[in-house]
Symmetry: C2
């Protein structure tokens, strides 16, 4: 099977780029003495997880319990579910534990901590719980100096079957940075928040073996990981145009793209149409805030290596992408109806979520493997 044989739109994964991205992050984390617990919310793929955990403890991070169940089925045994738990989801956690997996959950809330302490008492294995710390994102988490931090730890410790394992934070506000210096500062804030919270817990007599941080930008640009035990970057496995705009990668590192067919010409509008629209590309517009606004994605040739003129997907409808030139002219002759292009995505997590498979290439146009992925909840 070749790229020219695939139905479009299709999600193409360039294995060589993936392996390069994965190896670089692994080396970096090893150099800092930090375990890499990759966040699989981007790839949602057992094949990618195997590559990304190589040489590390084998632990992964997930964003849904459907991911957790998929990775347990695929042999992963150490999984952190890094979205605040609610008691109604404990049954699913217990079921996975009973299959032999170690599922670590997370909370930032005293009543939930009390409920975890109580409801886990009937579990076969201890329930592992992290306390979520806010290092500046303003999403989940308690501030390191918030008295609730120790109160949560105390509530967890009161549970006969809870294993409090430490603290976790995510500096997602690194995405708002416009310079490497800015990312470095956020990375340091992420580290110090987590380390400070761990210190307060230890001072209060609680164990805190895990000090978990992580985002792709802070993992790439953090200068110190002192006191940190693990990092949880995710999007680095694929990268995307937003990460390129942040300075985390170049367009040549982007490992996934959407294979699409040209389905219409509108020379009078300076526009051609492709069969990848808001469902196939996502409606992510994160590059809008960056110096180069990529629209809904940049248009490359079918090799994925050469951008065609300065084409980008300027607008999307459900199954139509409106391709326009940023400045010059659309090369209609190079792109007759039926021609194939590859669209580099703004945000890999969002684009990949529209697909249940990766068509894997090794730089060429031969599809060398098909990898599944898990979606939904």
């Amino acid at each position: 099977m070749k790229l020219s044989d695939l139905k479009t739109p299709a999600l193409v994964l360039d294995r060589a780029r993936l392996e390069r991205n994965v190896a670089a992050m692994s080396r970096r984390m090893k150099a800092h003495g930090v375990d890499l617990r990759p966040h699989m919310k981007t790839a949602k793929s057992a094949e990618v997880a195997r590559l990304a955990t190589a040489g590390h403890s084998g632990g992964i991070t997930v964003s849904t319990l459907a991911e957790a169940a998929y990775f347990v089925r695929n042999g992963f045994r150490d999984i952190t579910y890094a979205v605040g738990i609610v008691p109604a989801k404990l049954d699913a956690v217990a079921a996975l534990q009973n299959e032999g997996a170690r599922i670590t959950v997370m909370t930032d809330n005293v009543p939930v901590a009390r409920a975890l302490a109580e409801e886990s008492s009937a579990f076969d294995a201890p329930l592992r719980v992290l306390i979520e710390v806010d290092s500046g994102l303003g999403r989940g988490g308690v501030a390191p100096e918030d008295p609730a931090l120790v109160e949560i730890a105390r509530a967890l410790a009161a549970g006969p079957n809870v294993e409090p394992v430490g603290v976790l934070t995510h500096a997602g506000h690194a995405y708002a940075c416009s310079s490497v210096a800015g990312i470095e500062a956020v990375a340091e804030a992420e580290r110090t928040a987590a380390v400070a919270a761990a210190g307060r817990l230890r001072d209060a007599g609680h164990r805190c073996p895990v000090v978990s941080v992580g985002s792709t930008p802070t993992a790439l640009f953090g200068r110190s990981f002192e006191g940190v035990t693990e990092a949880r970057p995710g999007v680095y496995v694929f990268f995307d145009l937003f990460q390129a705009g942040l300075g985390c990668c170049t367009a040549d590192d982007i490992a996934i793209s959407v294979l699409a067919s040209v389905i219409g010409h509108r020379p009078g509008h300076g526009r051609l149409l492709i069969d990848a629209g808001s469902l196939a590309l996502s409606q992510d517009r994160s590059t809008q805030s960056q110096p180069e606004d990529a629209g809904y994605g940049l248009v490359f040739d079918v090799s994925g290596r050469r951008r065609i003129a300065d084409l980008r997907v300027a607008r999307v409808n459900q199954e139509h992408g409106f391709v326009e030139a940023a400045g010059g002219a659309v090369p209609f002759d190079e792109l007759p109806i039926g021609a194939r292009v590859r669209v580099m995505p703004n945000h890999a997590c969002m684009t990949a979520a529209a697909y249940d498979r990766y068509d894997v290439v090794d730089g060429g146009d031969e599809v060398v493997a098909v990898w599944d992925r898990v979606n939904r909840w």
Copy 2:
């Protein structure tokens, strides 16, 4: 099974609202003597299609060949694939025809018309082809006065096994209107473009039995359908906040919503978190251009009938929705962690695409049915 037993996030479909929406559009089209060929790109559900086609010819419209295959499997036999065809997709069309379905494809391009004429010669059944007309959207289609219109018809007529069936247009630019008068004008432009194109084809000696128009706003507000044979609205089956902002419905008509759980409280930020983020709600921001910007959706109680304070999803991350009050305060006491809410969507087509099932309710909290839907390509 009750709503309180469902895993969250989940897509809830209110059958009473669906039936009301479907019946109203059916009555309206019958009153105008127009066949209703509902566009199933929104619902992608055989159960919905059965309701929506009741009392009409039974034909439907689809946006992908995966939809076409699903509906053929579910017994539908008359399907218009309303996205410009490319020759590489003809094999899939032929396969569906060989299962007994009548698949009508569409083009706006002379070389494609020639390819259809040639490649369909080996088909068992004639290939039915519509010519796409642009009534002002600027997406696909030839203008009614464009000489290419007749040239395409001539190229198709030269095919030994092509059945040219007429013209199709979609006035998607009705979505940019800010008044009913504006929608009425676009509807009239849609009708006159299609009718003019049909007239030109007939004048040139071509048959043109089908004159197809359609979008939800123009179907609802068009004053005349003279010369039109069928309409293809889609989102009206569910409606959404964008359609409410356009004046096509009220919030009480919206038939789908996302059931979500409260997973975090950040009173210091005036914010609570739910487990429905950019994947569960979509990143659609179409209401941004309307007087009431609904963010990523408005937050209702679990009955789906009462908006809670003036809460909306102000921001999304992949699995987190940031719920904030537009003006007043967030009622944290009413929404403890674990509480459930229903989020009304900006754009039903985008939100529903994240799910492979509908949990159907009949106004109450009992899940009375589970309906599947088809996704991907």
